[in-house]
Amino acid sequence: MTDGAAIKTGEAVLALDHLHKAFGALKVTDDVTLDVRSGEIHALIGPNGAGKSTLIAQICGELRSDSGRVHFKGRDLTDLSAFKRARLGLGRSFQTTQLCLEFSVLEHVILSLDCMEGGSFNLFANPRNDAALREEAVHWIGKAGLAGRENRQVANLAHGERRQLELAVALARKPHVLVLDEPMAGMGAEESARMVDLLQELKGEYPMLLVEHDMDAVFTLADRVSVLVYGRIIFTGTVDEVRQDAEVRSAYLGDETC
């Protein structure tokens, strides 16, 4: 593996250390080691079925790894459940949006803010009436490009707007890393471009692990790219190096000549 000179060399915020996961005889995650450094966008690409979503589930604690460790801000997360990892500042978006459809946009972000410490057992205080919470929620809604949509019910949002709301919900919690699972999936060209702009704005503020199929977006946004094939990382390097690497081209970029 090579690290190009162009990389801003921050320290690793999220580090995967020899992760393994097998379903029966099928190795879905095979000795994966990679890290996400402060300030960078690290893109993870690979063909369908390469094990990207499994890897994210292992990072976020939805799936238990067979072996290997997950380190986050110098802390070993491997044995922590998903909700504890989230409380430590692991923010994420889902491949298929996971949102509370009956809430309004504002309510959803307020919920996100109110769950920073795991949620409250206060049976009487209405968080919708908390001016400070509302103000902060409105700020993050604006940051995700949804200003003016505060009172719209989530179920009535367009697909691209839901993706933006996922981002707002994650950002509101001031995450120390963002794990984004195909944030552009299912978007039209215009929505996609808007999301790329948004992520470009956020770049530098939040380290990101970006799983994405849209290669234009990857090449625009990423500092480093890792290529996952059959559960193995076959390559990690800068965007330019990936472009030139023959193995990557044959495995992923659709080079039919070899």
Binding site: C60, E62, S81, A82, F83, K84, A86, R87, R92, F94, Q98, L99, C100, L101, E102, F103, S104, E107, I110, L111, S112, D114, C115, M116, E117, G118, G119, S120, F121, N122, L123, F124, A125, N126, P127, R128, N151, R152, Q153, N156, V169, R173
Partner: protein, 325 residues
């Protein structure tokens, strides 16, 4: 009209109707009227509690009758020993509602805590089955209590006593039950709109999202389950005092099913809908049993029709509407 306005408006209309109903019934000279109203209010307390977890948490408990029965049995059994002059673990007993009722609710809370903890390890159909299984256990335990009448149940010699309120006066008893219902609905309304309630509802809408916001689902669901158990237990306490009689029938799966049917009939996740559901269900039962003892032959199709065409029950569409943006 906003959602809040519709809730308040409906609540006030219902309250006024329930306050004046005994006077209207008294005018007709029908002696069965006030007992009917009392049963409606007691059932309403149980089904509002059940709606809290089914409607807002998608925790479909098919065993809530167990809390109804335990609330009733605790009161009846303690009253029985007190009236026999026995001591209960060295305590001479009492007939005071202010002591017995909280004890009964405490018992329901503890039962809800244990059963909820175990049942909430499961989801969906398994949760339905496990709550049903626990309720059947409670039922068979009650049947096997030969000392307390077994199958035949246990009579209470008199209602409990409460300072300032004569529980033997049917009017006073009705208004006490109504007052408790109002307080309970307000409490549930606060819960639904609270920080706790927001998380609890978020878990229903997207558990994965909530977990990834840092929420540990079990404590939230368990707390709601226990609160719901206590409310249903309070209905059982009132029932024991109303009927002056408790039987294992209070814990049957048919009773649990009745509660669920009423919640659905009235409108899931609305708190007030189930009250209308209770009035309709028990009112119809009363009318139809005069006509035929096979009243379910008529009631069944009515429930099917409402489930098919009402979609959201009697008040669901109205109470959940008014929020189009």
């Amino acid at each position: 009209m906003s959602k809040f306005d519709r809730f308040t408006l409906t609540g006030i209309v219902m309250l006024v109707l329930l306050i004046i109903a005994p006077f209207v019934v008294a005018q007709t000279g029908w002696h069965g009227g006030l007992p009917l109203l009392t049963r409606i209010v007691i059932y309403a307390l149980a089904v509002v509690s059940l709606d809290l977890i089914i409607g807002y948490g998608a925790l479909v408990s098919f065993g809530h009758a167990m809390f109804f029965s335990v609330g009733g049995y605790v009161v009846a059994v303690l009253a029985y020993h007190t009236n026999m002059g026995d001591t209960i673990f060295g305590w001479e007993g009492t007939n005071s509602a202010l002591v017995l009722w909280p004890l009964a609710l405490l018992a329901c809370a503890l039962l809800g805590l244990v059963i909820g903890y175990l049942a909430l390890k499961t989801r969906g159909v398994q949760f339905i089955m496990i709550t049903l299984a626990f309720a059947q256990m409670v039922y068979f335990i009650l049947v096997s209590l030969q000392f307390y009448g077994g199958d035949d149940g246990l009579m209470m010699d008199m209602r409990n006593t409460m300072p300032g309120i004569d529980l033997d006066d049917p009017f006073a008893f009705y208004y006490l039950a109504l007052g408790l219902l109002v307080l309970w609905v307000l409490f549930c309304r606060f819960i639904v709109n609270s920080r706790f309630g927001m998380v609890f509802q978020g878990l229903r809408q997207s558990e994965r999202r909530a977990v990834n916001l840092g929420v540990n689902p079990l404590p939230f669901r368990l707390a709601a389950f226990v609160i719901s158990a206590v409310g249903t237990g309070l209905a059982g306490v009132l029932w024991a005092n109303y009927a002056e009689f408790v039987t294992p029938d209070m814990a049957t799966w048919a009773k649990s099913g009745e509660f669920m049917a009423i919640v659905t009939l009235g409108g899931l996740g609305t708190l007030l809908g189930p009250i209308a559901g209770a009035a309709a269900f028990i009112g119809l039962e009363q009318i139809l049993t005069i006509w035929t003892e096979h009243w379910m032959i008529v009631m069944g199709p009515i429930l099917v029709l409402i489930a098919l065409f009402g979609q959201q029950g009697m008040l669901g569409r109205f109470l959940k509407g008014g929020r189009h943006d």
